[in-house]
């Protein structure tokens, strides 16, 4: 049997298949559909300092091979997470990683510091990329110096595995990757959503209450793959790749481009069992191609 386990910045994953923040709730919503223990990890919904109501309705628009969302980090804040949610999910038989968001450096630091105390959370993913928050959320992920700063400040208080998730809405993704590595990131996650827009021609109005929103799904896969490949060549920390992964072949493509693990996002909405099917499909691929260790495929794209 092929070995699907990966070790990412010291953290062991039983397989490279994890689920993307904002598309998997806190995991328990999927218990009817899959055995969570089959996953390498779960990235839970963004947590911020205080309660956030998120954006007004409508928050969603379907697009060709994708969707736009403008959920806007709706969550009940770090206190609620620690007391109400953490106890519910801390014994899941998989890595539980918290996606940390904020509008200020202080907010990121505050949330990270609290999560550092939670024994069963082995890593956080700094979301410096969400395009939906007016206050700074965008800027952290698009200006290298700010990306370095927020990463470095969080690094001071967070002592486990620090992942930073980048925004694709930049001229040079490699510059941003280098910036967060300089700030002390152990792992880079790519990509968050592309900033897009949908219009209802009949009503002559934007579909989303926020006018613009984040594009996800297979439509963005070519852009995501390109960024994983560029960052893989630019920095030496492990990469977690995502963006439009719908099946095992897509996942293999990201791994070949340089991702040590992948996240399944929008696909969870279309098939709640997608993540586990992808893990199975990767195993079949490895058997068919006689690959013993999944790590042999990471960045193994032949370009000569």
């Amino acid at each position: 049997m092929p070995d699907l386990s990966v070790n990412i910045a010291g953290l062991p994953f039983k397989n490279p298949v994890t689920t993307a923040s904002g598309t998997f709730g806190y995991g328990d919503e999927f218990r009817d559909f899959i055995d969570l223990g089959r996953l390498g990890g779960i990235f839970v919904k963004a947590v911020t300092g205080k309660n956030r109501d998120g954006n007004a309705y409508p928050r969603m628009a379907e697009t060709s091979s994708g969707m736009l969302n403008s959920v806007g980090l709706q969550n009940k804040g770090i206190e609620h997470f620690c007391h109400e949610i953490y106890p519910r999910i801390k014994n899941f038989n998989t890595n539980i990683i918290v996606n940390v968001s904020g509008s200020t450096v202080e907010e990121y630091v505050e949330v990270a510091e609290r999560i550092n105390e939670l024994d069963n959370i082995p890593a956080i993913e700094l979301n410096i990329s969400c395009p939906n928050v007016k206050l700074g959320g965008m800027a952290f992920g698009t200006i290298p110096s700010m990306a370095t700063e927020v990463t470095a400040e969080v690094r001071k208080v967070y002592h486990k595995v620090l992942m930073v998730k980048l925004s694709p809405n930049v001229t040079s993704i490699s510059d941003l990757a280098k910036a967060v590595v300089d700030g002390g990131a152990d792992v880079i996650t790519l990509i968050n959503t592309l900033l897009g827009m949908a219009i209802d021609a009949e009503r002559r109005r934007p579909v989303l209450s926020t006018i613009t929103g984040g594009l996800s799904g297979p439509a963005i896969k070519p852009v995501a793959l390109r960024m994983v490949w560029q960052v893989h060549k630019a920095v030496h920390v492990p990469i977690i790749g995502l963006g439009g992964i719908m099946n095992a072949t897509d996942a293999i493509e990201f791994i070949l481009a340089g991702a040590s693990a992948i996240q399944v996002g929008t696909a969870n909405f279309i098939d709640p069992a997608a993540s586990v099917k992808i893990a199975d499909g990767i195993e079949s691929y490895m058997e068919r191609h006689k690959i013993k260790h999944i790590t042999d495929l990471v960045g193994a794209l032949r370009t000569e």
């Binding site: 919503e29 109501d53 409508p58 928050r59 379907e62 060709s64 969707m67 709640p272």
Partner: protein, 259 residues
Amino acid sequence: MELKKLVEDLRVTGVTRLNKRHFTLELLSPVKLPLILPGQFAQALVENSPSTFLRRPFSIHSVDYQKNTLRLLIQIKGPGTSHLAELKAGDHLNLIYPLGNSFSLPFTKDVLLVGGGCGVAPLLFLAQFLNQNNIHPTILLGFRTREEVSEIDAYSRCGKVLITTDDGTEGEKGLVVDHSIFQREKIEFKKIYCCGPDAMMKAVAKIARMNNTDCEVSLENTMACGFGVCLCCITPTDKGNERVCVEGPVFNIRRLPWK
């Protein structure tokens, strides 16, 4: 029977074209049907439709535990529903179901069901469920025109049926809220269940409020997942932004910021 959500390929065992814009699908489950409550819905996967990326939500129109089938009533609107209209007996349809909360049992026998358009879909199942609890509701259904009036026999078996059509070709002319039962000083019902277009539900809610009548509505919303994880389908309630697909689709109008 437990309240577990399933993802399943159900076999189409019957397609009934009600009229130009509406049809029903009877779907046979490969495993024993789970417990399904009136007001719950399913997320249908539309295959072979390049412009339909996400699933489409449809209320459960009726359930037959003996035959192990459920039915959907679908109005053709855009690409997704047009594709579903081409399903034939023997084809398969993948559903995630049952989803959402349900209508609650009333503490009265004076019950009115109000439905319009494809909003009639969950009301048949609700009426049958009420019957099992010895309640025989009055059922007020609004249609565009005579040609669209359908399944009246099924409703009539559950209670007294009243009809309005926009053009007056059958029943009373006008919208459901124009119906004569609402034109009295005080309406005679203690509980109203309503499902239909937003404007209709708001108008019915207004009447209910004026009469101090308890009223539950089943909200529509654009959904990505349908089972609570994407937070796309929120509606403002007394508890903040709640998910229509989990905390709803049925809400008591007391909890909604409708005036």
